[in-house]
């Protein structure tokens, strides 16, 4: 698919003597993981459509350090953080948007003490604001009659108390938003956090993503919406494990909105 995405880098902005409104922090998953790249593109389409002057760091971006920190490797985390902060501060970045709740949490909460002070927003809050400001309009027709359940990513929900922005977006789609039994602050983890994504689970009698996917599927939803690339991967795997492929789709909130806007 050739596309007409406009993705300027911060270096290009500076070269033109301009400053981006906001920096889009893509994250490792959003840059390299095949499934997550689709989320990245969906979000960029929305940014392009709304005419947001954003920039990415491109090859100057590096892992935020979240998995290293949560694996206990504080040393590696701080190395990553300080390198990133040097780059971000070098470009005079003030505001950052990201589609990854892990990057979001780390940049927002853990970078300030190390010298990185930015206004950091999650893409669901950012999209909500674009719609509220009239820069983006969506018609929900496409999802009319569909049942969508929303999975709260731990690092957006409990970690940072953001529960409503993604739900408000989904409600704009004219679809029925149905809640799982464990939702909002009681939401069950998908199993990826704390660097679990990168290792085999410890011994137990079930995988966490299967437990969560069963709960999502039990709601009778056609679509499981998530706001995190890791949750997306885990629940997509979960849907395969419970053999519901083709019946239940796992989508990022940004993809839902982009798809509703026919992008």
């Amino acid at each position: 698919m050739s596309n007409n995405l406009v993705v300027p880098t911060a270096a290009e902005f500076i070269a033109q003597g301009k400053q981006p409104e906001v920096l889009f922090w893509v994250g490792c998953s959003g840059s390299f993981d095949d499934r997550a790249k689709k989320i990245t593109k969906a979000f960029v389409k929305l940014l392009n459509k709304a005419g947001v002057e954003f920039a990415v760091l491109g090859a100057e971006e590096s892992c935020s350090g979240d998995p290293a920190k949560r694996a206990g490797n504080e040393f590696l985390f701080q190395m990553q953080a300080m390198m990133n902060i040097e780059v971000l501060n070098g470009y005079g970045i003030k505001k950052i948007v990201t589609a990854c709740p892990h990057c979001f949490n780390t940049l927002k909460n853990e970078y300030p003490e190390l010298g990185g002070n930015y206004e950091v927003v999650h893409h669901t809050s950012f999209l909500k604001d674009l719609i509220a400001d009239g820069k983006l309009t969506i018609e929900g027709g496409k999802f009319k009659g569909k049942k969508i359940t929303y999975h709260d990513p731990c690092y957006l929900g409990r970690a940072n108390d953001i529960y409503e922005a993604p739900r408000e977006l989904i409600e704009k789609l004219d679809a029925a938003l149905i809640e799982m039994k464990r939702s909002r602050r009681n939401g069950l983890c998908c199993g990826a956090g704390g660097a679990q994504m990168f290792k085999e689970p410890e011994e137990g009698d079930k995988d966490i993503n299967v437990e969560r996917t069963e709960e999502a599927v039990d709601t009778g939803a056609d679509i499981v919406a998530a706001g995190c690339p890791f949750c997306n991967t885990m629940i997509t795997d979960g849907v395969k494990a419970v053999e519901k492929e083709g019946q239940v789709e796992v989508m990022d909130v940004a993809e839902l909105i982009a798809s509703a806007a026919d992008l």
Binding site: L5, V7, V26, C28, G30, S31, F32, D33, K37, K41, V44, V56, A59, E61, S62, C63, P67, A68, K69, R70, A71, G72, N73, E74, F75, Q78, M79, Q80, M82, M83, N105, N109, E110, E113, L114, C154, Y155, R158, A159, N160, D161, L188, C189, G191, A192, G193, G194, A195, Q196, M197, F198, K199, E200, E202, E203, G204, D205, D207, I208, E211
Partner: protein, 451 residues
């Protein structure tokens, strides 16, 4: 001779309170074995949090049944303690119902309130017992509650039943004596000591059992209950230190000192910041001698191997934990059968702290006993099962943060022992070499935009 009861009472009271105070001093000493942590900020918010969560029980009622029952016990306990104040003054002075003449009708109202509360507490405690022992509620029957923790939970409930029953029986006997005096049946000087005071909506129902008993018998019953009740309270007070029931005091400071920053925010280790800054500073001289003041200090371990490496709030958390298991019942790792249980993390931390304290009690100072919190109490397998999801922190009704302890111990495993699981070593190697947890080239980070 007539002062003997007052003297016995006073001696018991001083001994009971004194012994309790000495145990609390030991507890504080143990907590101070931890690292200092500054929680002197944001006092207003801390008080508000304490008022809401501890005093106001706001997180307790998220489980409506347990929460409601607990509020009854909690409110009952606090208010009934006003009566204990009178009992103590009566005991020291040899008076009977010393507040009655001052309070008049209000006194009747107070006694009636205490009685109704005592009855509600009794009922709630019995339901608590049934929930624990009959209903097979998972969080009450899991492995880590076998043995002492289970017995402890039940002992507390029995204590409450006995205390409340004694209180009501005592009032019933008192009430019967008062009736006897009013009707002219009891005329001895000792009987006249029982002034006509109080109102007995609950013990009024017990009183008929005492019909026809002589004053002497009633007097013995009333006194026996009075003594057993107050001695029971003193025993209970001293039992607290060994029990999860320590929470009735510690819940308040524990909530006060709980973390106020977003739950997702982990601490940045200062010692590491210093080193990383040095490494990244092109002007720094890596071979420079550290300045003298720093050279004397034994460098603290990175992360936590034992309770000495945890901070004082984490150790306070361990003493405060009620072992309710709300955390564990929300933990994704535990739900899916992994060994990790955040409640067990707190219980093991307390056990280790107590074991260290016992050595200090015996030897006068800490002597290495060849054990550590890591490995001997908490295994790496438990630690590596955590997804850092914060469900345990969110679930805890009294502001305990099991995740922070798990993280400190992971840090020790990785930074001091290089003992991360092999796959994670690979991940970290990738991050270090190419800035992503997977082996992709950093230069390719923008390829998606052209695909």
């Amino acid at each position: 001779m007539e002062y003997i009861p007052n003297i016995i009472f006073t001696v018991l009271l001083i001994a009971g309170v004194g012994f309790f105070a000495s145990n609390i001093k030991k507890m504080i000493r143990n907590i101070k074995l931890g690292r200092e942590v500054d929680r002197s900020d944001r006092k207003g918010e801390r008080f508000a949090q304490m008022a809401r969560i501890a005093l106001g029980q706001s997180k307790m009622v998220r489980r409506p049944v347990a929460g409601f029952l607990h509020i009854v016990v909690y409110v009952g306990f606090v208010i009934i303690n006003i009566e204990v104040l009178e009992i103590i003054i009566d005991g020291i002075t040899g008076q009977h119902r010393i507040f009655a003449p001052f309070l008049g009708g209000v006194y009747d109202f107070l006694i009636a309130t205490f009685e109704i509360l005592a009855f509600l507490v009794l009922a709630s405690v019995i339901i608590f017992w049934i929930r624990r022992n009959v209903m097979n509620i998972k969080r009450f029957i899991m492995g880590e509650l076998k043995g002492w923790p289970k017995n402890d939970a039940n002992y507390i409930l029995y204590f409450e039943v006995v205390l409340m029953s004694l209180f009501l029986t005592m009032n019933a006997a008192d009430f019967t004596i008062q009736q006897g005096v009013l009707s002219g049946q009891f005329t001895s000087e000792a009987a006249l000591h029982y002034i006509n005071a109080g109102s007995f909506p609950i013990s009024g129902f017990i009183a008929p059992l005492f019909d026809g008993l002589s004053f002497e018998t009633l007097h013995i019953i009333e006194r026996a209950c009075w003594w057993l009740h107050i001695v029971g309270i003193l025993i209970f007070l001293n039992y607290l230190y060994w029990s999860k029931h320590l929470h009735i005091m510690l819940a308040f400071p524990n909530v006060y000192f709980a973390k106020l920053t977003p739950k997702g925010q982990l601490t940045n280790m200062e010692a590491v910041t210093k080193e990383v800054k040095m490494m990244m500073d092109p002007d720094a001289d890596p071979f420079a001698a550290p300045d003298a003041s720093e050279a004397d200090e034994v460098p603290a371990a990175l992360g936590a191997n034992d309770i000495f490496d945890l901070d004082q709030v984490q150790l306070l958390n361990a003493y405060t934990c009620t072992e309710c298991g709300r955390c564990t019942s929300e933990c994704p790792a535990n739900i899916t059968g992994k060994k990790l249980s955040p409640r067990k993390i707190m219980m093991e931390t307390r056990d280790r702290l107590e074991d260290v304290g016992a050595v200090i009690n015996k030897e006068g100072e800490w002597k290495d006993d060849g054990k550590t919190l890591l490995n001997d109490y908490i295994t790496p397998e438990e630690l590596w099962a955590c997804t850092t999801c914060n469900a345990c922190v969110e679930a805890c009704p009294i502001g305990i943060d099991p995740l922070s302890i798990i993280m400190e111990m992971r840090r020790y495993l990785v930074l001091e022992n290089s003992a991360a699981p092999a796959e994670l070593n690979g991940t970290m190697g990738n991050i270090e070499n190419n800035g992503a947890p997977w082996p992709y080239n950093q230069m390719d980070r923008l390829n998606w935009s052209k695909e």
